[in-house]
């Protein structure tokens, strides 16, 4: 047996041992006997997820060591002990407890230490670094009962630390010397968006600020921070996160070559200047630099494990593309992110995206803040070097997933390629994402590649003939309704012709894509739905502003908000019904439907209904139909709130809103639920404590009970929630997809919708509300608008030839 000593049991050191075991390195007469020396009191844990410990994640959730792993014969773990000295001649390592370990090969995986600038007061009680679970415990204990914290450093780890303090209930200041947050990964625009979002969480950000001294209070503990400009910030705790330095002391002590600025120099095999000693992870300078991320560390571990089992693997650098969730905010950078590029900067939603391509159109780098959903595709594009044909779509996040070969790496955390995924999908008949992740481990690390995984799965299933709906029709084979909505919204495309030319194929469009785009343009505030090109796009019913019936006549449905109607309006309905010989039926939505009207008579009928104060009920559109209600507190002995007034308010607010499919609502005045709100797309039920909001209910072909979205809402909160819900549905629903099917389709279903609508996790709240406000502002009854302009009446003619009878 040969002896291997691993100095350091962090993430990378442990990965090395795992790789070695997996490669059979412990087996046979020539196998390795491994001693791992770990300085901390606990075995390796997930340091990347350190801040989740503040959110309550226990040690067992963070540990990387599976139960019984070190019971494997040939493996030994020493904790609370570090390698203190190495004798390269004798090939022995001496530990801090005086133990002497003989080795045939030594791997240094000692990681890095936090850099603490030489500030006065840096050793005061209440000053911490942030790297280990022990740090977490010490900070947690110290912060109990304290109110304000300062974090020195606005980089990745500093922001993690800020989040940790925030989770402990402290008011937090972040001090960054550079003029922006995360100066390494982000450009100015991305950093600005990140700052907006972080400040919205109540964290104070000071950039371009140098620290002068950490101040002490009368009790000798930290009381604040003095900045170079003289500002004093009061603080009960200071966390220093000003960068890392490789831990190279042991190597330094035994004469191994170091980099001039620190770090153990290694070759492409991760060997040091002594071939019996390797170095991996953050203590090493490999391919010319220190790699401060875990993925490159894992690659080094894999290379060394391979070498130890007779292979010749090398480490030649790694992709530094990263996707993080900082304080719940998505931040990602791909490739070389600094420099000019195409930018999508939306200060309203604090979303920022920059995409850089070279002269040939290949992706050079990208920055994403606020929404990193396109990260996976961008990384693929960057790695594959495929030419980006349409930067605008890529920016809008609507480009088709990157086309890549089987060798393309999808999950860099676990080194899973497209080929691996495809064979797993084919061989094991996998048809859902969860199984694919479980079988291949892809997407189980940082999770950044999950959208790409999904794309690969969908493409593969489609290739196998399993139906995966994505493209709308032959004119937009790769675009879903959601894609087209985004293109129109972000790219400000406002005509079907432009959309077809820029993002579709073929000519003319068809009965699928035309009404879909008409609806999108209407949702985006396209104005009167029958002017100009829009006239050609509308479905038959929208074109006639009435519902075509099986005999070629139309039905007429005036709006009766909340089911309320005046005697005068009832009389107007009765009179036109009599004069035009219409059949009258009370609908399930608490209003009247007048059947049998001829196309030519529609304007005259509506002129009379309009005089009685009735307006279009939009029964002809994929739009809000009715808000059904009970009589509520005014009449009913059980009612606890005014359901009829609320139904009227909602119906008048959302009337005319074009959506992927029709939308039905109801408001019940008490839990007896006489308005059947739980079978509606949006259902509201009154309680003593406020309104309960249900969404995604359906009657019809496949009934579905609505899901509870939020409880105990005030009137204003209810309206705000419904605003957001409807606009998010309009934005992301597929063609003819009711809210019930929509919620069942999207990942995480109602939980996702709740995060977006209630918690504003995507930061879209204000934007969605503004869109709804614009809709409410721009609403006009389509029949009133039609009657106002005589030239709009020409289409209500059964025959176009002059003199033909009607």
């Amino acid at each position: 047996m040969r002896q291997l000593v691993v100095a350091g049991h962090g993430m990378v050191g442990h990965r090395l041992v795992e790789e070695l075991v997996e490669a059979g390195g412990l087996e046979g007469p020539d196998g390795w006997e491994v001693t791992v020396v770990g300085e901390e009191s606990r075995p390796a844990y997930d340091r990347v997820a350190l801040s989740s410990a503040f959110a309550g994640a226990g040690e067992d959730q963070l540990t990387l060591v599976s139960d019984g792993f070190f019971d494997t014969p040939g493996l030994r773990l020493l904790v609370n002990e570090a390698v203190a000295a190495v004798d390269p001649e004798a090939r022995t390592a001496t530990t801090t407890s005086g133990r002497v370990l003989a080795y045939d090969h030594l791997v240094l995986a000692t990681g890095s230490r936090p850099f603490v600038p030489p500030l006065p007061g840096k050793d005061l009680p209440g000053v911490f670094t942030y790297r280990t679970l022990d740090d977490v415990e010490a900070i947690t204990a110290w912060c109990a009962g304290r109110r304000t914290g300062v974090v020195l450093g606005g980089g990745l780890l500093g922001l993690e630390a800020a989040n940790a303090l925030r989770l402990l209930g402290l008011e937090v200041h972040v001090i960054e010397m550079a003029p922006r947050l995360m100066p390494v990964q982000l450009d100015d625009g991305g950093a600005a968006a990140l700052r907006t979002r972080i400040e919205a969480l109540g964290v104070h950000v000071h950039v371009g600020a140098s620290s002068q001294a950490i101040l002490a209070g009368p009790d000798g503990t930290v009381s604040g921070l003095l900045l170079a400009d003289g500002t004093e910030l009061a603080a009960d705790v200071v966390v220093v996160s000003a960068g890392i330095r490789p831990r190279d002391d042991v190597a330094r002590g035994c004469g191994i070559d170091l980099h001039e600025r620190g770090g153990i120099l290694v070759d492409e095999a991760c060997r040091t200047s002594d071939p019996a000693i390797s170095a991996i992870g953050e203590c090493a300078v490999a391919a010319g630099r220190v790699w401060g991320l875990v993925a490159p560390g894992y690659k080094m571990a894999a290379a060394v494990a391979d070498r130890l089992t007779g292979g010749d693997a090398t480490f030649e650098g790694a992709d530094l593309s990263t996707k993080l969730k900082l304080l719940g905010i998505d931040v990602a950078s791909v490739g070389e992110s600094h420099g000019p590029g195409a930018i999508l900067d939306d200060p309203g939603s604090a979303t920022y995206k920059k995409i850089r391509v070279d002269e040939e159109g290949r992706l050079v780098g990208a920055v994403l803040v606020g929404d990193a959903s396109s990260f996976g595709d961008l990384v693929q594009l960057h790695r594959s070097g495929v030419v980006v044909e349409d930067v605008l779509s890529l920016l809008a996040g609507t480009a088709a997933p990157a086309a890549t070969g089987p060798s393309a790496l999808v999950c860099s955390c676990n080194s899973v390629t497209t080929g691996d995924l495809v064979s797993a999908i084919e061989a094991d008949g996998i048809c859902d994402l969860a199984t694919l992740k479980a079988c291949t481990k892809a997407g189980t690390g940082c999770g950044g590649c999950v959208p790409t995984l999904k794309g690969v799965l969908e493409r593969q299933l489609a290739a196998q003939g399993v139906a995966v709906r994505r493209g709308l029709c032959e004119h937009f084979p790769d675009r879903s309704r959601q894609d087209l909505y985004d293109i129109c919204r972000i790219g400000r495309v406002r005509t079907f012709a432009d959309l077809l030319a820029s993002h579709g194929q073929g000519k003319r469009g068809c009965e699928i894509c035309k009404p879909t785009v008409a609806s999108i343009l209407a949702s985006l505030g396209g104005g009167y739905v029958l002017d100009g090109e829009q006239a050609a796009l509308q479905d038959t019913n929208d074109f006639a502003l009435a519902n075509l019936q099986r005999n070629g006549t139309y039905s007429v449905v005036p709006r009766m908000p909340g089911g309320e109607v005046t005697p005068r309006q009832l009389m107007a309905c009765a009179e036109v019904a009599e004069d035009y010989d219409l059949y009258v039926k009370v609908t399930g939505g608490q209003r009247l439907d007048l059947f049998g009207a001829k196309l030519d008579d529609l304007p005259a009928i509506w002129a009379r209904l309009g005089q009685a104060g009735l307006e279009s009920g939009h029964a002809y559109g994929k739009a809000l139909r009715t808000v059904k209600s009970c009589v509520g507190i005014n009449w009913c002995r059980y009612g606890v709130q005014d359901s009829t007034e609320m139904a009227k308010l909602l119906e008048l607010r959302y009337r005319g809103l074009r959506s992927p499919h029709k939308v039905k609502m109801a408001v019940s005045g008490c839990a007896r639920e006489c308005a059947e709100a739980q079978s509606k797309d949006v259902g509201v039920i009154a309680t003593e404590a406020g309104w309960n909001l249900y969404v995604g209910g359906n009657g019809g072909f496949r009934p579905r009970h609505a899901d509870l979205l939020a409880e105990g809402l005030s009137d204003a909160e209810l309206v705000r929630s419904v605003d957001r819900f409807l606009q998010y549905y309009v934005r992301t629903g597929e063609r003819l997809e009711r809210t019930a099917a929509w919620i069942e389709r999207i990942d995480d279903g109602i939980d996702h919708v709740r995060r977006v609508v209630v918690d504003d996790s995507l930061g879209l709240g204000a934007e969605l509300e503004a869109q709804m406000a614009a809709h409410v502002e721009g609403y006009e009854c389509e029949w009133a608008a039609t009657l106002r302009q005589p030239e709009r009446l020409a289409r209500f003619q059964t025959y176009v030839n002059e003199g033909a009878p009607t």
């Binding site: 004119h475 009965e511 038959t540 075509l548 099986r550 020409a794 176009v800 002059e802």
Partner: protein, 138 residues
Amino acid sequence: MTILDPATTASVGTTRPPRDTSSRQNRWQDVCGLDALTVERGAAALVDGRAVALFRLDDDEVLAVDDVDPFWGVPVLSRGLVGCIGGRDTVASPLLKQRFDLRTGDCLDDPAVTVAVWPVQVQQGRVAVAPPPSLAGP
């Protein structure tokens, strides 16, 4: 001047002179001005008691078929949406969405069903149609 070849007349820009619509022999019937038709939409016309669906395409070509939806026996095809499916110019019935080739009258969704195609002429801003060849007398 009797029967015209529909293949040469069912298109824009024909060089034939305007027809005298009063001639008993002339099968062309003036219907309406091109301006009366909305681009990329249909409209119905009544010709000799028969409903015809006229469609003005984006290049101002006008195509015509019987207005009656053969699946329902109701004159509504003119109210359907114009499309282009696999390179064929089509209209989708507004009732149950079966699609018809505007040039051949074939139903794309049911090979057993067709609608009659009417030859169309557009000249000097006027649209004229002739009865479908199947109905054309001597």
